[in-house]
Symmetry: C2
């Protein structure tokens, strides 16, 4: 059985040149309009941390800044543990790709915080919305989509599906949908980081107008540990995403992902460039 497309997309080979330096190649399976799906880029930045021999604990926070669209082909990711404390570790990452002249150019920057987590009091102040079960919601029928990455996810929109008529009739920016990798794949931190970017641009929904867009920065907080992720397995996640402010070329998106059992697995925010 061949590896899952996501595992192929996230494959990183450790370079001999320097500790924390990894080599990868962009994946056609997760291609977006003018570069790779930003979710896989975020997952790759995290993957470099997760594969680093000095890793302490598990991801708590991840911020990825998209400095330039990657070209199809090889790239490198450097992950550096700049500060290691007793129970937390601070990381800086940078993704680079050779330009036409073979000169390495920075295409993305990132930071992460990993930590050893202990059991404490807890509470969820953002309960999962009441929605019909995945089986009762029709799968978004787009495959083969114009962009490859959309076919790598099983999306079952409950509210705020991608507009079918681009007539400027939009009046809200909230999407609620069940989603998981397609084909199904057991959930882990890298996959969750990618899923947090699995919502189409809020501005398209809000305006019912497909203007050019590009995420410039995404920040994801992980609220669970590896054991809790493993319990989710290949189950569906309920994703919610909404825009908060659209102004002068940028809008933000607040997103949350719950397990089908109602555990808030991750909260994620991004800011996105848009034209017009």
């Amino acid at each position: 059985m061949s590896p899952h497309p996501l595992d192929q997309a996230l494959a990183l080979a450790h370079s001999d040149l320097r500790a924390g330096l990894f080599n990868g190649t962009t994946s056609a399976d997760y291609w977006n309009m003018v570069g790779p799906f930003g979710g896989t880029t975020a997952a790759l930045m995290l993957q470099a941390v997760l594969k680093h021999p000095e890793l302490l604990g598990a991801p708590v926070a991840l911020t990825v800044n998209y400095a330039a669209a990657l070209e199809a082909g090889p790239f490198e990711v450097l992950a550096v543990p700049v500060r290691t404390n007793r129970s937390t570790q601070h990381w800086t990452m940078q993704m680079a790709q050779a330009d036409a002249d073979g000169k390495l150019q920075v295409v993305g920057t990132a930071t992460a915080v990993t930590a050893l987590r202990r059991e404490t009091w807890g509470a969820n102040d953002l309960p999962m919305p009441q929605v019909p079960a995945p089986a009762e919601v029709e799968r978004l029928a787009i495959g083969p989509a114009k962009v490859a990455w959309v076919d790598r996810y099983e999306m079952r929109p409950i509210r705020g599906s991608i507009p079918t008529r681009w007539d400027g009739s939009g009046d809200h920016s909230e999407t609620l949908m069940w989603l998981r990798d397609a084909p199904p794949r057991p959930l882990d931190f890298a996959a969750l980081a990618a899923l947090c970017d699995g919502f189409y641009p809020r501005v398209w929904l809000r305006r019912a107008k497909p203007v050019p867009i590009g995420t410039v920065s995404i920040t994801t907080y992980f609220h669970v540990d590896a054991t809790q992720l493993a319990e989710v397995g290949t189950g569906y996640l309920l994703g919610r995403a909404a825009g908060q402010q659209f102004r002068n070329g940028y809008f933000d998106q607040a997103a949350q992902l719950w397990s089908q059992a109602g555990a808030l697995l991750a909260t994620s925010n991004q800011i996105v460039y848009f034209k017009e």
Copy 2:
């Protein structure tokens, strides 16, 4: 007239050693329990970008990771424009402080995106909550507070004020309050970055229990330009903050800041360590 305490706290001298390297000193006026107020640290990271000779545009996104508590005294901030595009610029920052042996240690990392913004279509999908005017809300009377920084802000809590009885009776994590610098100071990006961290720990409100805490990472998106900030002047901002998930030593906080006129100036998220 002596400079505003915030301007003293954010004073950075450009080092001759390297472009983008700045020297500063911690401010007693904004001291917190075991280090400086995290808001001023975030503002200082941004300040290094704003004072950089190669700056393009204005802040759109800022992420600051708190790697260690600063000691009282001098520190340095290095801001590097790692990628400059036609209308966006990507920054990495690092704050360092000499340890007992005089060896520089990383105490914080950060990234920022600045951009030239053009007028576009816009919409606010997170309208300002209906609340009484600042004059109708009593000012939080804590001064002189146990911690200095709290006295640097005029806070008028409408909902979710800091508990007066630590009896474990908490049942929500939302605070709504009018706030501004004290004494009043015309709003700018650095002050706004600091104000986004002006909410006391959500876990204290949620549990009515003052457990040890520490912000590990904060991300702020700026939705306005310098002109729009100038229009706010010394007016009050309406701040809203709420926890979303508290689990195994960490909780997140989603915050929004509106101008008194109802413009959503910034949206900010942070993840915070807590004990027990």
